[in-house]
């Protein structure tokens, strides 16, 4: 009998029909011809005649082709098996992609449960990445909002002898730098200053800056209204002009468009408003509300002792940071030789403004970014595992498609389309998570990170999320895609054929993924554990005083009004007395700087009967001017000697000082410092009265932050020294301290109704703020590690469930043959725990290598803290054991009869 199919196929060639489609047509037509043939033969025709008669039907080969062409045009939808690529590659690519997408969407809908789990896992990973990246993007990547920001630098004095690599420069040094340097286009100085704004409304204390007149042109910032300072306005006598922040202008002056030219009263003196800065302007931080010109007096211009300026400069085009550093070092060396008494050992340090602003956060942010990257990897591993399990289920489908002529590459593409679609869906949900997360995150971001408010999901972040989503889809999609291609087509097509993924390479790949998940989550958990450990240790650091029931507020006396020492003393005495008489108040005191505040004065001292130290190497101590009740109010214990009394006043023969135990230990290591005498380094001792007598030693307090060791410190009483006026009022209460805020403030206003009171906080709040940064890093790390652990747990659970389900038959036989449930449990658990132990082993090695990068974030623990490593490993083993136990237990509940029927 002739091969009818071949005859038909010949005539269809050139139509480029999809193979499956063509096969059907060939079959149908060939059958028709065969029927005709058989009828002819049974009717008595010879075979040759019958064949001729049948082929007569196709005599016009062109007709069939033409007719089929008309039917097939417009082209039929490409069948599922996938059409081989045609010559018009481009349109085919697009239509293939569309088809793949439609198919992928259909698959996702069909497996809704799987899809939802995968999307949640991916969304967590991608969302966390997006949130952290948007912080990194803002703080580390986005250019600062100034003109050519990459050329802006901060110039410091470098004082290695006193351990101050970034010391604020003295005025005379700044002036010399300005005159002698060849590398800066411009250089400007800034100081912090608070201003008391009085006049209409409540008196208010404003944070502001005194600045060189050239600061704003240097930054390349124009005012929103009016003008910035003119070149001659930073000269003495012409500095009574002020620039307002946009916020202050809106809030206090109702956005008055005619504000320029009006007068405001600052520190009791009249200033003319010359302009308003734009809303987004901040330099260097966003607290500033006003700027006034900085005019140096002749005395200031020659002062190399008082270090209090911040210096910003713009590099000349083409000048590198290294060139600027070299130049400044040269100038500093020259100044050292010229002024050995003040400048010996004093260098200069140039850093970029960006590094200066972002530097502190950089290690923490990069580590967090690394951490979320790992979380995403775990999510990928999880989804890949899910896909692998599903690929096993889909093997028949794939085999059919391959049999129908689909090319493997085409199928891999189909798989990848599915996984990328999944990842992009995850990315969309992840964006929502990131958006919500950022709102939460922002409330935890320490305020002293200058760009914190600017953190948003912008185009860069969206691009990042898209990139991460697609990359994620490719990563977790590739393994199952390749896996799915590696199977024996014939076996799979056979009814009841075993999944390739059950044994051999599929199982191996899934086991590998579990090991990876365990290892990665162990690294994250150890990282989080180290940060928790650090944070707890930090929390437990004794600040040297009791923080509870303390209310603090700033009461800064305006200089012009309170120039007179007696008037100032009287004011403080009045305030302390009046506040102490309030119900609920146990005691009150004033000080120049509260502990745990990142600021305060330090002075060099000389010690009586000791040789003059070499220039620049005099002892330096932190100085605080307090009221006698301060130690009692703060609960700072007196270790020896006595506290200040009312008798320690200006009428006493000598000034007196109470020193900290660190100062005592450092400068009088084997002696009793009480009774010894010291003097300020910058005041020449002309008479015996210039000496200050040490009368007592108190316990150390952490002046700057909990993590920083206490520096030598001395306390003076405000009744003797007018060097600095106290600024902080601190009140010990019997009741909840915050509840007394208004009462205490009113008590101050009863003494002076124009006296601003600001920054009302409890000491506990100050303490919390001082460790906000560490808390922030720790909190995020803990969240990420928790997510990682949950994902890993789910991953282990999934693989174990699958493995138990696959082995139901085997377990059934074992049980039927009399195996004890304990043995079965051990069998099922053993497989899971083996993977976990391998994962933990690898994770420990990785953690050992990786946690070193965290060293700067740690406090009181080493990066390889054995206790943390052990505890966290046990925790993860516990979680993993639970995740394996649940499916393993299910194995023991297998009914042998049912299990044997299973298949």
């Amino acid at each position: 009998m002739p091969d009818w199919k071949e005859e038909v196929r010949k005539r269809l060639s050139g139509l480029k029909l999809a193979p499956a489609h063509e096969a059907e047509i060939v079959e149908e037509l060939a059958q028709h011809l065969e029927d005709l043939y058989e009828r002819a033969v049974s009717g008595g025709a010879t075979e040759a005649e019958a064949k001729r008669a049948a082929l007569q039907e196709l005599r016009d080969a062109g007709l069939l082709r033409r007719e089929m062409q008309r039917v097939e045009k417009p082209r039929a939808e490409a069948p599922v098996a996938g059409a081989p690529p045609s010559k018009s590659g481009r349109t085919n690519l697009v239509s293939d992609l569309l088809h793949d997408l439609r198919y992928a969407a259909r698959m996702q809908r069909k497996n809704l449960g799987f899809t939802i789990i995968a999307i949640i896992a991916l969304a967590l990973g991608i969302g966390a990445n997006t949130a952290i990246f948007s912080v990194v993007n803002t703080v580390l990547l986005r250019p600062l909002p100034y003109k050519d920001p990459e050329r802006l630098v901060i110039v410091w004095e470098n004082d290695p002898i006193h351990g101050l690599p970034q010391e604020t420069p003295a005025v005379a040094n700044f002036v010399d730098w300005r005159q002698q340097n060849q590398v800066f286009e411009d250089i400007a100085a800034i100081t912090d200053e608070s201003f008391n704004l009085t006049g209409a409304g409540d008196p208010e204390r404003l944070e502001g800056r005194r600045v060189s007149a050239n600061l704003f042109p240097l930054l390349g910032i124009d005012p929103q209204l009016g003008r910035v300072f003119s070149a001659n306005e930073d000269q003495p006598g012409s500095e009574r002009v002020v620039l307002l922040s946009h916020g202050l202008w809106q809030r206090r002056f109702g956005g008055d468009p005619g504000i320029v030219g009006k007068s405001v009263t600052l520190n009791g003196e009249s200033y003319t408003v010359v302009g308003v800065m734009p809303a987004r302007f901040q330099f260097p931080t966003s607290d500033d509300q006003i700027w006034v010109p900085m005019a140096f007096t002749a005395e200031q211009l020659s002062n190399r002792d008082a270090h209090y300026l911040q210096v910003v400069a713009r590099l000349k085009p083409g000048v590198t940071l290294a060139q600027a550093q070299t130049e400044m070092s040269t100038i500093s060396t020259r100044l050292e030789q010229q002024y050995p008494e003040t400048n010996a050992g004093l260098g200069a340090a140039v850093t970029t403004l960006h590094e200066q602003l972002a530097g502190d956060m950089k290690p923490a942010l990069l580590i967090l970014l690394g951490a979320v990257g790992l979380v995403l990897l775990i999510a990928c591993a999880n989804v890949a595992n899910l896909l692998l399990a599903r690929a096993a289920v889909r093997q028949k489908e794939i085999a059919v498609r391959v049999a129908l002529g689909a090319r493997r590459l085409r199928l891999i593409r189909q798989f990848l389309t599915e996984s990328v679609l999944l990842a992009i869906l995850g990315g969309v949900v992840g964006l929502a998570i990131a958006y919500g997360g950022l709102i939460l995150l922002k409330s935890f971001i320490p305020e002293n990170i200058s760009q914190a408010r600017e953190i948003t999901i912008d185009l860069q972040v969206l691009g990042f999320t898209l990139f991460v989503s697609i990359a994620t889809g490719l990563i977790f999609g590739l393994a199952p895609a390749i896996q799915a291609m590696r199977f024996n087509q014939i076996d799979t097509l056979k009814e009841g054929g075993r999944d390739a993924a059950t044994g051999g390479s599929g199982k191996r790949l899934r086991s590998l993924l579990v090991v990876a998940e365990v290892a990665i989550s162990l690294v994250l958990l150890i990282g989080a554990g180290l940060l928790i450990n650090s944070f707890l240790r930090l929390r437990n650091v004794d600040p040297g005083f009791r923080t509870d029931n303390l209310l603090t507020m700033k009461v800064v006396l305006p200089e012009p009004k309170y120039t007179d020492f007696d008037r100032r003393s009287a004011f403080y005495t009045d305030v302390i007395e009046r506040v102490q008489s309030l119900p609920g108040v146990r005691s009150a005191a004033v000080t120049t700087n509260l502990p745990l505040y990142q600021q305060g004065n330090t002075h060099s001292i000389r010690i009586e009967e000791r040789p003059e130290p070499p220039p620049g190497q005099a002892p330096v101590v932190a100085t605080r001017v307090i009221s006698p009740g301060y130690f009692g109010t703060m609960n700072i214990p007196l270790l020896s000697g006595r506290n200040f009394t009312e008798q320690d006043s200006t009428t006493a023969r000598n000034g007196v000082a109470v020193i900290s135990e660190t100062m005592a230990r450092r400068y009088w290591p084997n002696e009793d410092p009480v009774g010894k005498r010291i003097a300020f380094g910058f005041i020449p001792v002309r008479s015996d009265a210039d000496w200050i007598q040490v009368i007592g030693v108190v316990k150390d307090v952490r002046q700057f932050e909990l993590a920083a060791e206490s520096r030598p410190q001395m306390y003076l009483t405000y009744r003797q020294y007018d060097l600095f006026a106290p600024r902080d009022l601190v009140v010990k209460t019997d009741v909840e301290p915050a509840s007394l805020a208004a009462v205490v403030r009113n008590a101050v206003w009863e003494i002076d109704k124009d006296q601003p009171v600001s920054d009302i906080q409890t000491m506990d709040q100050i303490l919390a703020e001082s460790i906000a940064r560490q808390q922030f890093s720790m909190l995020l790390m803990v969240i990420f590690a928790a997510v990682a652990m949950i994902l890993a747990g789910v991953g282990i659970y999934g693989v174990m469930s699958y493995s138990v389900a696959q082995r139901t038959h085997e377990i059934g036989i074992r049980l039927a043959l009399g195996a004890q449930t304990g043995a079965v449990l051990k069998l099922a658990l053993g497989y899971g725990m083996k993977l976990v132990i391998v994962g933990i082993g690898i994770g420990l090695i990785a953690a050992f290598a990786l946690t070193r990068v965290m060293t700067t974030l740690l406090f009181g623990v080493t990066a390889t803290d054995p206790a943390t490593f052990t505890l966290i490993s046990l925790l993860l083993i516990g979680v993993a054991a639970l995740a394996s136990y649940i499916p393993a237990r299910r194995a023991t509940k297998v009914d042998p009869i049912i299990a044997l029927r299973y298949e």
């Binding site: 059958q31 028709h32 007709l63 069939l64 007719e67 008309r70």
Partner: protein, 117 residues
């Protein structure tokens, strides 16, 4: 009929009427292509014949339009065959085509006076 209708139909009318023929044949029961071809030949007493090259493309076209639907059916002891059945839409089309065919024939008859006037 005094002339050979098949020749004319082959050229002109066949185009318009072939659809109607096929739809009519699968109205009562699903039929495969060979069956359809045979029936046309038998019932027209050999005057109408579709060869394979034109019958199947026509079937496919009707199927594509959604008027008929083909399905592979296996019966005991036979090779599988593709049976075509009339779809709901096909039923409507068939009714409409019958109606217009009747009108067409009536009009022709009236003009040519074939009907006994």
């Amino acid at each position: 009929m005094p002339y050979k209708l098949s020749q004319m139909l082959d050229r002109e009318l066949k185009k318009g009427s072939a659809e109607l023929l096929i739809l009519s044949l699968v109205e009562d029961q699903p039929r495969h292509g060979y069956d359809i071809g045979n029936l046309i030949e038998q019932r027209s007493k050999g005057r109408l014949r579709f060869n394979v090259a034109s019958l199947y493309p026509l079937l496919y076209r009707l199927e594509k339009r959604g008027w008929i639907q083909g399905r592979w059916v296996e019966k005991a002891g036979q090779r599988r065959r593709r049976y075509y059945r009339l779809t709901a839409e096909g039923k409507k089309v068939l009714a409409a085509q019958r109606h217009s065919w009747r009108e067409f024939v009536e009009a022709i008859n009236r003009i040519t006076g074939i009907e006994h006037a």
